[in-house]
């Protein structure tokens, strides 16, 4: 009996909470060839109800000042959660954003978020678009209050299902969104099939493209996520833009005009390209690297080797690399009904 008493008072073993939901846990796909997961899944265990709540929130315009803009507005599933056809996204009142909306995929492996890495933790991420005056232009406390007052969907009930009580807090709100986003794993492209042993999943041309890619592009687009997650100046003409990239976050002159190396998974879906969406085709992107790299103080060393700017590629090599890049398109991912708009809310 003394042992019982000790157990009851020990802080490390709290008595079971009778309101703990008996929700089904979800297992996030973790491909063996991906690097180790960055997101702390222990601090936010994925559950079916948490995921569904996050999905509702993701597609709900309630998160914006006037109800018109959801996360899903600028992050559309059919184009790997980017804003199709928009170089810069338009948010609330058709105001134009500062940068091209990046895809939402494989977020659990991301060390930093945004093109400039301004946020280091996924749970802190949603506050930025919500409070950005040209995106959702709302205040987080207002969002939480609107959720508490919401009858359709009945958010207090959805929070109770996911977290045990009807309390709606910042932590629960952002962690529910994280559960949805973390689960958006793209690992079923033809290239993945090839990696997993289906050698004829790629054509001979695509395999040649893969070899060329490894030789010419994989310094930065490294590993099976196709990014080393570093910040680099890739030689874009920056004379026309006031966007200083990573410098905005560090105020370090060495970081001027540097942006995060993006993953190339689903790159066939995510046009337009670059932080400002200036290129609409992959051909334009490769032409930039082949012939248009601009020399500036912070230009990446990898783009100026042997006294030559850019990456030397013949037209034939470019075509093969592009053929390979298109094998990174994950059709299952962009059509997975589990990730789709559940049908309420206002994602236009």
């Amino acid at each position: 009996m003394a042992l019982f008493g000790w157990a009851a008072c020990s802080k490390s073993t709290p008595p079971p909470d009778p309101t703990t939901p008996t929700t089904e846990t979800l297992e996030m796909p973790q491909p063996s060839y991906f690097p180790s997961v960055v997101y702390d899944l222990k601090s936010n265990p994925l559950t079916y109800d948490g995921f569904q709540l996050g999905r509702s929130l993701f597609y709900d315009g309630l998160l914006s000042r006037n109800g018109t803009i959801a996360c899903g507005t600028c992050h559309q599933q059919a184009v790997a959660f980017t804003h199709h056809g928009h170089d810069l996204s338009h948010g609330i009142d058709d105001k134009i954003g500062m940068r091209n909306a990046p895809p939402i995929q494989n977020m659990a492996w991301s060390k930093e978020f945004f093109w400039d890495g301004g946020v280091h933790q996924l749970d802190l991420f949603p506050i930025a678009p919500i409070e950005n005056p040209v995106e959702m232009d709302e205040k987080l406390p207002n969002v939480l209050q609107k959720l508490r007052d919401s009858k359709n969907p009945n958010y207090p009930e959805l929070f109770k299902k996911a977290f045990g009580t009807t309390d709606i807090t910042t932590e629960r709100f952002t962690k529910a969104l994280s559960q949805f986003m973390v689960f958006l794993v793209s690992n079923n492209s033809r290239y993945d099939l090839y990696l997993r042993g289906t050698t004829n999943a790629l054509t001979a041309t695509e395999k040649e493209g893969l070899a060329l890619f490894k030789q010419k592009c994989a310094t930065c687009h490294a590993g099976e996520l196709f990014t080393d997650q570093s910040f680099r100046n890739n030689g874009l003409d920056n004379s026309r833009s006031s966007d200083q990239g990573r410098f905005r976050i560090t105020q370090n002159p060495d970081d001027l005009f540097k942006f995060k190396v993006p993953s190339l998974r689903n790159v066939g879906y995510t046009s337009p390209y670059m932080h400002d969406g200036r290129f609409s085709t992959l051909e334009q992107v490769l032409n930039h690297y082949a012939t248009n790299v601009q020399k500036t103080a912070t230009l990446d060393p990898a783009l100026q080797t042997n006294g030559q700017l850019g990456i030397s590629m013949t037209d034939d090599e470019k075509a093969k690399i592009i053929a390979f890049l298109k094998t990174l398109s994950d059709e299952q991912f962009v059509k997975d009904y589990r990730f789709a708009d559940p049908g309420f809310g206002k994602a236009f």
């Binding site: 003394a2 060390k111 946020v119 406390p141 969002v143 807090t169």
Partner: protein
């Protein structure tokens, strides 16, 4: 029935074993009462009647700052540090209640020096969202409109000073505003400037004596004029907006010296 019996027995045992001696300092309190001044006068928001060292006229419309990591030094040299989770306070000039910081459970003794950090320490700036409660919660209603958190460059704003000055060039809306939002904890994984400043304030000849029957109040004065008139003289016309930029460290260096002890009331 048997289950119920064992259940009750379990609860009884649990209650029994949880009895501990009450904390002898449980009822001890010490209050920090913040008084925000411009020079010798308490600040009046909206009154454009102050002058800085470079001869500019200014008024104050918003004045908020975080205080954290409070510690108290005894006359014998030992230090009591307020438990970290209970050591974050947002002082807002518009909210009188926020200016009275009551610290509970302070050990009995005689204290001769107060120390605190202006801002939110770097560790807390990088913690999980679950550790950001109360005034540190970006979703807390008290943040509304004051936004003491940068969501786009994750980190807290340590001090926010906004106001007007006829010497500041008019913006598109015709307003002559200055806006100082000072933060910067040193960077998460890339080094950047660190504007955290720690203040040590000797209480002078009168110690703050804390005990079950003594609950002193320390008046802490912040002098806004020192933000402009510090080791470096700041011109509002030249720097109407200071946010996440190198010059913010000049402002932080100035405000590091703006606090003083107004008095101790036992």
């Amino acid at each position: 029935m048997k289950k119920l019996f064992f259940g009750l027995l379990f609860i009884a045992a649990a209650l029994q074993s949880c009895k501990t001696d009450p904390d002898p300092n449980e009822k001890n309190t010490l209050t920090l009462s913040f008084l925000n001044k411009v020079g010798t006068q308490e600040v009046v928001l909206g009154q454009e009647s102050y002058q800085n060292a470079v001869g500019e006229t200014y008024g104050v419309t918003t004045y908020n700052y975080f205080i954290s990591n409070i510690s108290l030094k005894k006359s014998d040299g030992t230090t009591y540090t307020v438990p970290q989770d209970s050591s974050y306070f947002l002082i807002k000039e518009t909210n009188p209640a926020s200016k009275k910081v009551t610290l509970r459970g302070i050990p009995t003794g005689s204290y001769t020096e107060l120390s605190f950090m202006i801002g939110v320490d770097s560790l807390r700036n990088t913690m999980d969202i679950s550790r950001r409660t109360g005034v540190l919660d970006p979703g807390d209603a008290t943040h509304d409109g004051d936004g003491m958190y940068w969501s786009w460059n994750s980190g807290y704003i340590f001090l926010k000073l906004e106001g007007t000055s006829p010497q500041v060039a008019a913006d598109a809306a015709g307003n002559r505003k200055y806006r100082y939002h000072i933060g910067g904890f040193g960077g998460y994984n890339a080094k950047t400037f660190n504007n955290l400043r720690t203040v040590k304030l000797p209480l002078g000849s009168i110690a703050a004596t804390v005990g079950p029957d003594q609950q002193p109040v320390i008046e802490v004065v912040s002098d806004i004029s020192k933000i402009f008139n510090g080791t470096q003289k700041v011109s509002l016309a030249q720097y109407p907006t200071v946010m996440f930029a190198d010059y913010s460290s000049t402002i932080a260096n100035n405000y590091a010296a703006m606090f003083s002890i107004g008095g101790v009331k036992d």
